[in-house]
Symmetry: D2
Subunit: 395 residues, 4 copies
């Protein structure tokens, strides 16, 4: 094992990759099977079936064998043709980032942008589509992780559906942590991954693609083929009868199978309730400690990440370092536009639990004190506990 | 765990993905750490250092977080500019395939091609480069897996070096199974992966990039950026001081670390000797059974895969199915041009062992007999055993 | 990991502990739960239920938290009272060994003994019981591993049942490798373990205890209590309502659960057929190689271990060392009275497969040749293959 | 995997078996090797060497292949002869319990007993030995886990050493959690296990035996032989040259190797500091919450378990159930004489960390509130945090 002078963290309460469930660790240690063998081919089909069930779609889901960031790049490359006008909705860093990929392939990208602690108003989307009726594709991030904020995806989806454009939804850090599915939001291309709320490892992308989206890609002359950027190459790869375009990441598929089993064994509703309960308790604690949430309004705060404003006069990196040194606890910084302005506490997968909220509040509070900033941790804990006592977040 | 009606294979003696070493399975089950945390960043740097040592290069090696097929696509996209003339050497299906990617990016691709059971003659390369002195890049597959044949890469490398072109070598299925390194063959871009002779899982690409190749990419205006196809994005990602362009496949890096530890613990020379010994024994057995090797000459047969001609009148798929049914043993078919013409027995990683050769010979022999084709398995075993008795292939 | 100058074996084809199934390895890496917690208590009850189902008994099976050798000692200590006359049946080293324990607790032990390559004749048992009608307990080893021989346990059980004595059966190395259960042989105390044909790890003992046997122990004033030798202490420990006498071996119970799952998933009948097929093929090969089986008659040869006479003039340890050096293959020696006289090839759990038989035959043949002893390995392989072609030993 | 209607705990903060370190889980999933093979024999010797180093003894340490409770029974059986007068020191349930085993083998057992929230005074031992100079053996529990109290073992050891009796020390739940070794306390028989502060699995016993203790056992005509109760059977089993009396628990030895590696990698002093810091913080929190520690004086409170008095009018089981339901957190009850009177929070192995103390305090506080008992959790957290801020408990 590689020598490592840095102490291993005790608690990873970051925005993902997350600490995986023990059952996922075990699944990743299963035998690696040969991808041309009937056993693996049947297994892959079973896993895709299970994934489709988790995504609540009728058509076979799609696995791409790269992480969701390149997965989204591939989605842009495959879906967006050189003649397409794309409406990109921007409420955070990831939304902003997708615009760059979209611009690489589209005729034109125009954006509705809100401050990065706010959410897109569906009416803005309706207005934008009214202004630009030729819009073929709308892209939106459900949970813009670097802000810890949610967009009202169901309402946005309804607006887009009525307009007739295709909707691409980045649900990487919300799926499996709350009740969000392609059907919930009328998504044509719904992108997520195992490395967040499913409590799996990063390394592959999970997608649901509507028949309309497949048709669009098939008609797109620029859609990549024989490429890691191609969704079409993998369209039929779910079937045990069809070959893989290239070698799938066997161990990641094993891990996904384990993560999905855990998801169904616990019950999706129970998993979501656990995430929501942890986030509610965490927000209550943060506020009672005298700290400020990053989201402009609590109703847009994600149940999977709590974003906290960095107190004036302090540096995010100092806080993170102190929390790590004193409590072995790892949080996330912001990213790009939110960098330096907020800290993020993850409630994803196995750590979406009351106990880890207590760890988060004390580690953050202890770090702030170590930096000379008084915070009322006791009050924070009390507020979080009150929420837990109220919350019906146990199975 | 996914329901699977197909019986799990007992012996995977295929051309990869291979059965991983038990220590790799365990490494893949290590905790998944957060990629922005100092622990993982230090770990990643350590693993890259270890990988550089395995590749015997001074500069930090490169890990791409997708499988070697897209890794090679990315290499083509990054290295080959629209003004480049590329000489692609073709001795098999993978060499042929790379030409398609090269053509996507190059001004022109010209090829030296030999029959797919033969090897490139370095003189052909010299002649070609003489004819086309403007050639900027030469690409070659060391071990063209679908043929089980090796190209004389050291000699080819010397020719290319003298000419001054950049050399891209696909050593995916030979590295760590024999004495082949970037330095051995003067490769500027040396591409391999953990899922073959290192006995690891597929899912990432391992590369050595020379300073000349980095310079070429940096000057290439078409080299992808902010893309899964970009090598440049990842140039400095080895350093604990630099961020990752996107989330690395944490579990695969864990697994790579375990695979490299095993490689060094056994000793590279011992690992190569084990592969060579297994392949020699297997070829001896195949010939003594009255079967024909696919390579035109035994000296170009790879030590990591033994390709066997499908006996006239039989179908490859029938043989494979019978070997699987009777002996739980999985072999590889051919691919594209070699499909239907040959079968492949892998000697990669943990199965590069005399005992697995015996399994292979009996399973293949038993399958042929079950299909009504008499073969002298006893003679095959005897010949293989004679080779093992001779071979100094034990540490 | 401990430094180890000895090379790790590649194939463990010994008489147990066996190479465990991969699913057992994973099960052993599950979280270790607290034995007083409701989760573990419910889990333990479930595992005992599963074990009872595997043993085909109605009453809850018994797990002792030590290996079967001390498990048998505990059985003797618990069952045999100072007034008891015990008939100990001896057809091998383990039968002989049990007599010593029995003598420690009994009023008198008398034995029926046959040569250690023979089996007990049920008539001998009937005669012995007729001579000594006061006999309260009969003990017998089903598969005396150091001889690789089976006793006709169903017939013996019937004789004992008619007489009315209690029957203790050591089925450690036959259960789960063939159709043997407490009900098959009217056993009152049936002793086995996970470390042989279940393909699990050694470290615990699995028992089925009849109501008659429990009653006998409860009336036995010498039966140990508050002791590792006590069966009674653990009588009710299967129930989630009852405490454990001392901490159970949590990881071993996890592993047992994995082993039992695998057993049921494959189907017991399929598992037995696999063992029988491997052993038949092995015996055919051994004979065709010109070697002699140890059992006096092939019908008493166990389906889980093939015992082979050491050829005259050779030393067992030299043969084992050569097989290990050349083929990385580990066999078992004999033990006590059979030490030096025979070698043993295990067919237990995951290695009860045709392919491993081929490994065994070539490794043994190669070792003999390396020691200057000519054997016809080719003929051996051919004979084994003929058996496999005949055998209906695939699911 | 066994069906389990009970929800898996999230935090096991009990008195052991403990949640194992991830590296131990991986070690337990290593291949199971054959105990008669040279590889395992060398490995076993290496592990015993490593264990001896951890115990800081020169002679090879001893592994018994059963859990420490039967390990202590075996120690009593082996060491105590029918002519021996034994002084058993009793400060808790485990000390009391050992007296029963001692009485089974000794001529006479006499005791010094203190209330179960107190510690033995070395002067009491000196006085007792003066009264009974013929005392041959003194037995004492270092950390009587059901009380969470420590005895002054160094001083007691010095008294016993001067008197010349043999000293048996049960250090099961203190070794590896603090600076206690056979040499610290002049122990002749020092008994511990991997399942507490080493963060390993239960299932084996670890001992250090002095030459004097071995000599005593060898002269003891009643010392068991050919028995699970025999220490002598295993005296030389550490050596790769000597056979094992019965099959060792291979997977447990693998796990022990992993646990010892982790112990040395972190550094024993760092591990102890981590345990001490967690316990100090926990005690500070408990007191500030208005709860009472069980130990009569804080200086005898163990650094590995915090015992808390059950508040008047409440039932221990109700508190545990509420902590489990609301916070997924598992504590220990008392045992025998302490049952119903106290709760125990474990700080052993991986959970000896500030963050887990916060989990413990909030889970306990939340449970008490749910039962209608007001406690000042905020104050408890503050007090614990103050201790952590003070404590130099980070490496």
């Amino acid at each position: 094992m590689a020598v490592n002078a840095v102490r291993e963290p005790v608690f990873t309460l970051a925005a993902g990759p997350v600490s995986v469930y023990p059952s996922v660790s075990r699944a990743m240690s299963r035998p690696v099977h040969y991808d041309f063998d009937a056993y693996f081919q049947a297994f892959y089909e079973e896993v895709v079936g299970k994934l489709s069930r988790a995504l609540r779609v009728k058509e076979p889901a799609l696995i791409l064998h790269c992480e969701p960031a390149p997965g989204l790049e591939a989605a842009a490359a495959s879906l967006i043709g050189r003649g397409d006008v794309v409406l990109n909705l921007v409420s955070g860093v990831y939304g902003k980032g997708f615009g760059f990929w979209a611009a690489r392939y589209a005729k034109e990208v125009f954006e509705v942008e809100v401050p990065f602690n706010e959410a897109i108003d569906p009416q803005q989307v309706a207005d934008a589509l009214k202004r630009r009726p030729e819009t073929a594709i709308v892209s939106v991030v459900h949970h813009d992780t670097p802000s810890g904020t949610l967009n009202p995806i169901a309402e946005i989806g309804e607006v887009v559906r009525r307009h007739g454009a295709l909707l691409l939804v980045d649900a990487v850090s919300s799926f499996a942590g709350m009740d969000i599915h392609p059907g919930t939001c009328a998504a044509d291309l719904f992108v997520t991954g195992p490395g967040k709320c499913l409590g799996g490892a990063p390394g592959i992308t999970l997608m649901a693609v509507s028949p309309r989206a497949w048709a669009k890609m098939e008609k797109n002359p620029d859609a990549p083929r024989d490429s890691v950027l191609s969704l079409l190459d993998w369209k039929d790869a779910w079937s045990r009868e069809k070959p893989f375009p290239f070698t799938p990441s066997v161990a990641e598929v094993n891990g996904l199978d384990g993560a999905l089993d855990g998801y169904f064994d616990e019950g999706p509703e129970n998993v979501w309730r656990r995430h929501a309960g942890a986030a509610r308790a965490c927000r209550a604690g943060i506020k009672a400690m005298g700290l400020a949430l990053w989201p402009a309004r609590e109703e847009i705060a994600a149940p999977t990440v709590t974003a906290v404003r960095v107190p004036d006069g302090l540096k995010d990196t100092d806080i993170l370092a102190a929390a790590r040194a004193l409590y072995g606890t790892v949080f996330s910084k912001g990213r790009n536009e939110t960098l330096g302005k907020l800290l993020r506490i993850g409630h994803m997968g196995p750590v979406a639990e009351p106990g880890y909220v207590m760890v988060a509040l004390t580690a953050l509070g202890g770090a702030l004190r170590a930096l000379g900033r008084p915070v009322d941790v006791g009050a924070g804990i009390e507020a979080a506990m009150a929420e837990i006592a109220r919350a019906d977040n146990r199975p």
